[in-house]
């Protein structure tokens, strides 16, 4: 495992209290006026040059949002969000004249990426990852597009897909997460600014990992990404989403919607490393991350697999889910959620079994340190039609120190007596004797914790694509630095 060796290296390099990505770059922004109203929705649609049908879709979503209540059942504690106190659109100014290649991109933006350690050029050459970079709300660089388009693969900003592929958008957007699902889904539908669109045609195996880096940059800008991935029959795609954010004091609201659709025999693997600014050691600042991710296994033998490493944000509220409609379809959820200091995470999954012989697997590892709280909340629902459905769930929680909390809230609703549902859960404190053993071999307290926690998460981390696994292992260690052993 060469990867976790880097963990240690990285841990050594970084100071314990500094958030590596804590800076903001002063790229001039075009902004919508502060606040949330119909005018803002129209402004966003206009900025994007959207067709009338899209504006109508947004306005309908906005009226639904106004009628819905904010979900309040998550085990989270935060001041009420004042939706009027955010900006809902901002775009780097230099985007106005659409760069055709990386050379044309604002050097200021490129410098920002450099600081983040994401050299686009190098990534193109070295890793074979096609990168669709989102800085704030507008995608600024798309690579490998041509190569992919030769295979009939569409990988572009969703704003572009609205222009170029309206039929696909009309057919699939909102088909997995209905606008009326809950208030954040409705909000996102009304004001989403950009995100990614992926379409894999029949019988195509996407040859590269598709990747998007998100970044929150302009002050107090709510971020509302929208991602839609469609895998047609017999196709395969692996999609990576990773992000870092600049340090600032204001709480930042983020409410992304991600929809996945897998048709007959198709497979979608969706991996996330989330490292947004978690707030400082006293719990000040940090991102509010309310994400709705849902995949529909519509076809027979289809498969959707979510892997997530959640280390950042002040508040994470996220339940990547699978709707297993097609017979023999499979859903998987592998999750590591780390909370330190005053972070709060309420995360888990929903597996909805509808088709026959559907199966799902849930592996969740929650790590809590400092004063943080970490909740796994999961639903396994077996509908009467889901003959011979199977689920296996394992939730392990690890506590570091005495002030943090871990909770496991599994809901099982089975309406088919033939279903097999297995649930295992453990909660343990980090083992002092293990720590002592590692330290006796010369590892520092932080290194020892990093090593042990990475071991604890291995089952999940090994599902990440290689280049992501390295970063994830670093993040696991970095996020627990300075936590009491």
């Amino acid at each position: 495992m060469v990867a976790s060796e880097q963990t240690i290296k990285q841990v050594n390099k970084l100071g314990s209290s500094d958030y590596k990505y804590g800076f903001s770059s002063d790229i001039e922004s075009i902004q919508a006026p502060k606040g949330l109203n119909e005018e803002v929705v129209r402004f966003i649609s206009k900025q994007k040059n959207e067709p009338e049908w899209m504006l109508e879709w947004r306005l309908k979503a906005f009226s639904v949002f106004n009628k819905l209540k904010k979900p309040d059942w998550a085990k989270l504690n935060f001041p009420e969000i004042d939706f009027q106190d955010y900006y809902y659109y901002s775009a780097p100014k230099s985007m106005k004249d659409k760069p055709k290649s990386l050379d044309e991109i604002d050097p200021e933006i490129l410098k920002t990426y450099e600081k983040l350690g994401i050299p686009i050029q190098e990534q193109k050459i070295l890793s074979g990852v096609a990168v669709d970079v989102v800085l704030d709300s507008v995608s600024i660089a798309t690579t490998y597009k041509k190569q992919l388009s030769e295979l009939g693969i569409i990988f572009c900003p969703i704003s572009e897909a609205i222009q170029e592929h309206p039929d696909l958008i009309k057919k699939y957007l909102g088909s997995v997460i209905p606008v009326s699902d809950h208030s954040f889904a409705a909000l996102n539908s009304a004001v989403f600014t950009d995100g990614s669109f992926v379409y894999i045609p029949e019988n195509v195996r996407c040859p590269v990992e598709l990747s998007t880096y998100f970044r929150i940059n302009a002050i107090n800008t709510g971020q509302f990404e929208r991602t839609l991935i469609i895998a047609n029959k017999n196709s395969y795609v692996s999609y990576l989403e990773g992000c870092t954010a600049p340090m600032r004091d204001e709480n930042q609201l983020h409410a992304a919607n991600v929809e996945l659709i897998a048709l007959d025999n198709a497979e979608i693997k969706y991996s996330t490393v989330q490292n947004w600014y978690p707030g400082d050691k006293e719990g000040k600042g940090g991102i509010y991350n309310f994400v709705t991710k849902r995949g529909a296994c519509r076809g027979v033998n289809s498969k959707i697999s979510w892997t997530q490493v959640e280390t950042g944000s002040a508040i994470t509220w996220k339940y990547p889910s699978c709707i297993l409609q097609g017979d023999n379809s499979k859903g998987e959820f592998y999750s590591v959620a780390i909370t330190n200091n005053f972070q709060q995470a309420d995360t888990g999954t929903k597996m909805i079994h509808i088709g026959k012989n559907t199966s799902s697997k849930i592996i969740s590892k929650g790590i809590s340190a400092g004063n943080a709280s970490n909740t796994y909340r999961g639903l396994v629902k077996i509908q009467p039609s889901a003959t011979n459905a199977r689920n296996f769930t394992q939730c392990d929680s690890l506590l570091i120190g005495n002030e943090c909390g871990a909770h496991t809230v599994p809901y099982i609703e089975s309406s088919n007596s033939g279903a097999q549902v297995e649930h295992e859960a453990t909660t343990s404190k980090i083992n002092e004797d293990q720590l002592f053993y590692c330290q006796q071999r010369g590892l520092s307290n932080d290194e020892a914790i990093g090593l042990i926690v990475n071991g604890f998460c291995k089952e999940v981390l090994q599902h990440l694509p290689m280049e992501f696994a390295v970063e994830a292992q670093k993040l696991v260690s970095i996020n627990l630095e300075g936590s009491v052993g």
Binding site: E5, I8, Q434, F436, C438, Q440, R441, G442, E447
Partner: protein, 247 residues
Amino acid sequence: MLNINNLKASIGDKDILKGVSLSINKGEVHALMGPNGSGKSTLAYVLSGKDKYEVNEGTVDFKGKNLLNMNVEERANNGLFLAFQYPMEIPGVQTSFFLRTAINAKRKFNNLPELDALEFAKLLKLKAQELNINSDMLKRDLNVDYSGGEKKKQEILQLSMLNPDLAILDETDSGLDIDALRIVSEGVNKARNKENSFLVITHYQRLLNYIKPDFVHIIADGKIVKSGDYSLALELEDQGYEKMAKA
């Protein structure tokens, strides 16, 4: 190398070490024997800095430095190694990776460049072969589902990879079969040189046939009650602790 003077230590309100004094010079092997519960492991833990023990009195000098002022990893990186009586399992962490992490932690401490993957693999292969440890074992998670004897062998592999100045072996021989005992002892003898020292805790004189100690100490109720040369171990084997303590 090591100078322990009137060391007293307790856990909670229970006194365990009640004034231990012991000097170990470079190149020497000392054996420590004593009945169950007499404080042997406690001495090993206190020397390596386990924090649940309270040191109430006494001094410990290690290579000219005050050992008791250092934290656990400083002691380790300064060359103190403890082969645990009960080695810990670390799930999800490959044995070879753990070894590499440990070696590089020590190298970093000594301002040496990290061993690259190839150099490390070569060294590991050599040392593992000497101890008759097969390479599949090294791919498994550290100590997880290892048999008792395999865990002990693993400790000695770590010892020979880390090359400490002072190694404390806490009952490394218990749990080893006859062949393994011989192989492990050979490993220890190979690691032995004029510059390093060993403190070997054991219940059995048999081990000392393989690893010839320069001195033998008997500890009872938190104190060293008798010291001598190798013949003391033979005497002990013959008479048992009770008689010896009275004598």
